[in-house]
Amino acid sequence: MSPLTLKLWRDLRSFRGQVLAIAVVIATGVMIMILGAASLEAVSKAQQRFYDSHQFAQLFSHVSRAPEHLLPRIQAMDGVSQVESLLRTPVRMAVPGYDKPVRGLLLSLPDGQQPRLNRLHLREGSLPDRAQPYGVVLNEPFAEAHGLRSGDTLTAIIEGREQQLVVTGIGLSPEFIYQIGPADILPDYRDYGVLWMNRSTLARALDMQGAFNSLALTLQLGAVEQDVIAALDQLLEPYGTAGAFGRDDQVSHHFLTEEKKQLQVTATVLPAIFLGVSAFLLSVLMGRIVRTQRQQVAVLKAFGYANGSIVWHYAQFTLLVVVLGGLLGTVLGAWFADGLVALYAEYFRFPDLRYQFQPRLAVLAMAIAALAAMAGTGRALWQAVQQQPAEAMRPPAPERFSPGWLERSALARVISQPSRIILRNLTRHRTKAVLSILGIALSVGLLVLGSYQWASVKKLVDIQYRLIHTMDLHLSFTGPVPERALAELRSLPGVQYVEGYRSVPVRLVNGTRQYLTGIQGLEPEPQLRRLIDSQHQPVALPTEGMVMTHYLADYLGLAAGDSLEVQVMDGAQPRLTMTLARVIEEPVGVGVYLERRQLNRLLGEGPAINGAWLMVDGEDSTALFERLWQMPKVAAIGHIREAREKLTAYLDDTMLVFMGVLLLLAAASAFAVVFNNARIAFAERARELATLRVLGLSQREVGWVVMGEILLLTLLAIPVGWLLGVGFALLVAEALSTDMFRLPVIFTPQVFAFAALGVLLAALLSGLLMLRHLRRLDMVGALKTE
């Protein structure tokens, strides 16, 4: 082993505390990068495989009823590769052993065969053959939620007729990787299910022989999706088309895309923060090592070592820290990735979602970490080779000090000499002090980032269910009913207050941007489903124009007062130009709202509703439920309490688990930063501290010089760190915003207090560790070294 290599190992050993601390921060960055990237890759690959092997369609169109003989014309259209017609209809089901009615979506299969597009992946059983007219295949999560297996039976109400169904198989479809009910924000496998049956049976039940109400298409290579959509919409217009749409507007695909976007953020923004912090720490550490070893560097140069080999020597140190952190992060990442992928498998149903360790990901993560580290240590390395050997071999002259502004104040007379040393050191080494403050502030910021989301998640649930959804029950009807149905609901036992709504699917278009969503028509001042502004104050609906969530307005590039095109995808399908009257704040979903009668007018209908919200007195709602279920128009009943529990469980499952891990790592990193800082401060003052000890100052008095500096720096860093943390949080919140959720960025005093206390605790602990070093300080040795 060459002497330089030996020196390298010994340096690493003597700085092991700091090396380890920095390695932990690097490991955190690498781990998150690997987790994000590995999950992203696993999900993307599984998605791609499933789409390819099961012929996921590229275009979809729903119509009221179109004749089958249109198919050859569609097939002959420019850009169309394959087309398949089918039937689909919402159903209400009853599952044995489950006392609540279940909503469902029933789709047709070519009798006894796989469809050409959106083929099913069978987990068990088989497709229903021709001899089993009422055989069905269930989507796997729904079957799992009810413990249904092949051979089991359930009841469905199709077009008002009750029908016994037999499960012949359980499967998955590329169309329902993410299975979510209409208007739901979260999957609910018990109360909503997808199932398939033979086309001839379903056609008979719907009276749709020789007709279809849904199309799936694939496109030829190079076909322009918009052109095909336009042609298709034109052709289908007489048949009540709701407008064809591509994969981007297909629910499951859309959610999957959003999720992948989030993973991308996870794999970039967070690691960037952690690797940036570690690069900063390394730069401080390397700066100090190079400074203290200037005589060694001089000797090496005097003996004829080239600048290159000296730079390489110190660069190796940096790289070894990176490799250590990288390996640790890789191991942790691989460990957690399994769990994360399993979590994805719960929400996104693929035939096979596998996590595969990708060595190239680990290498890539480490390369990025190394780049960041080298960028951070470049200055120190440059300094190492800049000095002339002769100059470096002379001991450095005492540094120049002058009384700072602090000491010209009245404070000067009361502070002790050790305190004066602290103040002078900080004011003299301003750059160093600023860097230390910045370093500690970074760790305060990490703690804010790791902890603010807990309060935010709570706030989100609170806003959603205390301020917005104040109803107890949510009814949706099978179709529009006259407003007077509300009176009937009001008369039901236990019902205290009722509010109706009318919702309709629309495509919102502003220039090239468009979004498929639904408009809800509400009472002018809705009480059970409120609209709130950014101050959380209730907002009344304007008499003219619509309101939408801030997130959607941003997405469409709209501000209050702008007009936009609204393509209604129901009934007569009018295309309207409307004004955006105002923007509201909602943390969940992408809502668009209009005064209900205004919506009724636009749809060319009388005062109608297709859903209602109820406030009931909580005691006994059995009677109420029985009555509600007897109403043929009631398609679904939702408990808000259950929705709330579901949302909370989902957030606990996904976000908070992730945030818990992040907080743990943020805390570890925070400690690493503070400890590093203290260790360096101690090492740089060893001689001074030893002198003070020799002069008869007690350990406690000398300890103050160390502890006081750490504490002072920490106190100065805390407000800066709060600011940084708010910045980090805004950055991450913005990046993690999806159609589904926007975590409200709120900062409770507890978050700031927590971050401050955390870092003070770290400072205290580091200080105590330094005091231990102080006890072992070799007074004689420190006096000899010059």
Binding site: E399, F401, S402, R420, I421, R693, L695, G696, L697, L783
Partner: protein, 238 residues
């Protein structure tokens, strides 16, 4: 010297070993010695003779391996850190080859570090006047020459009116002219304050200003020589 002055340091069969890697170094191999109140002693020896180790043990910076050393009634061997800190704080002034001033404090404040904690100190101003630096009180170490820095270090050492002044190669980093000025200050302190003073050096010439010269070699006292006639520092040449 008077009939029989009080011996304030007494060491008997003092030994010190330490290991460096796998080598055991016998720095002191049984030192018997007395230092008397008010005398100025020069400890002479080549490097490795054990003189610094001896001084460090006398000053309470290092612990002996064996034997016995007492300061007046205080047993230094085996004393706790707390006792040794107290001992240094109240009784001992140190002067080092490399001055060891705190660079962030002015001359006056460097002395205040000690006077703040001593029971009966002189003021920093008085101490600086004693070493002839009353005009440089608010200068930082970086603004002082090597000789001036060493005089500040001496002022710092004597400001608490210590009973003992221990100087480890006080002129080692200085040219001879500046060195002589520093020695004049040391002699002046010894004479005006009566501080028992031990000066370590490898420079034979300096021995001529001492009351007694104790020569160490190979971890033992090899010779004790009493100067019948002392020279003043100004008369020394090297």
């Amino acid at each position: 010297m008077a009939v029989q002055p009080e011996a304030i340091f007494v060491s008997r069969n003092l030994t010190k070993q330490y290991t460096m890697g796998e080598v055991t170094i016998h720095a002191l191999r049984g030192v018997d010695l007395e230092l008397y109140a008010g005398e100025l002693v020069v400890l002479l020896g080549a490097s490795g003779s054990g003189k610094s180790t001896l001084l460090n043990i006398l000053g309470g910076l290092d612990a002996a391996t064996g034997g016995d050393v007492r300061y007046r009634d205080l047993q230094l061997t085996g004393a706790s850190d707390r006792v040794l800190t107290r001992f240094r704080r109240d009784h001992v002034g140190f002067v080092f080859q490399f001055y060891n001033l705190i660079p962030s404090l002015t001359a006056r404040e460097n002395i205040a570090v000690v006077t703040d904690i001593a029971p009966d100190p002189m003021t920093p101003e008085e101490a600086l006047a004693l070493v002839g630096l009353e005009n440089r009180m608010d200068h930082f170490p970086a603004q002082l020459s090597g000789g001036e820095q060493q005089r500040v270090a001496i002022a710092r050492a004597i400001a608490k009116r210590p009973a003992v002044l221990l100087c480890d190669e006080p002129t080692g980093a200085l040219d001879s002219r500046t060195g002589i000025k520093v020695l004049e200050v040391i002699r002046h302190i010894n004479e005006t304050l009566g501080t028992t003073t031990a000066v370590i050096t490898h420079n034979e010439v300096i021995g001529q200003m001492a009351h007694r010269v104790i020569r160490l070699s190979d971890g033992r006292v090899s010779e004790v020589h009493e100067n019948s006639q002392r020279l003043s520092p100004a008369e020394l040449h090297w």
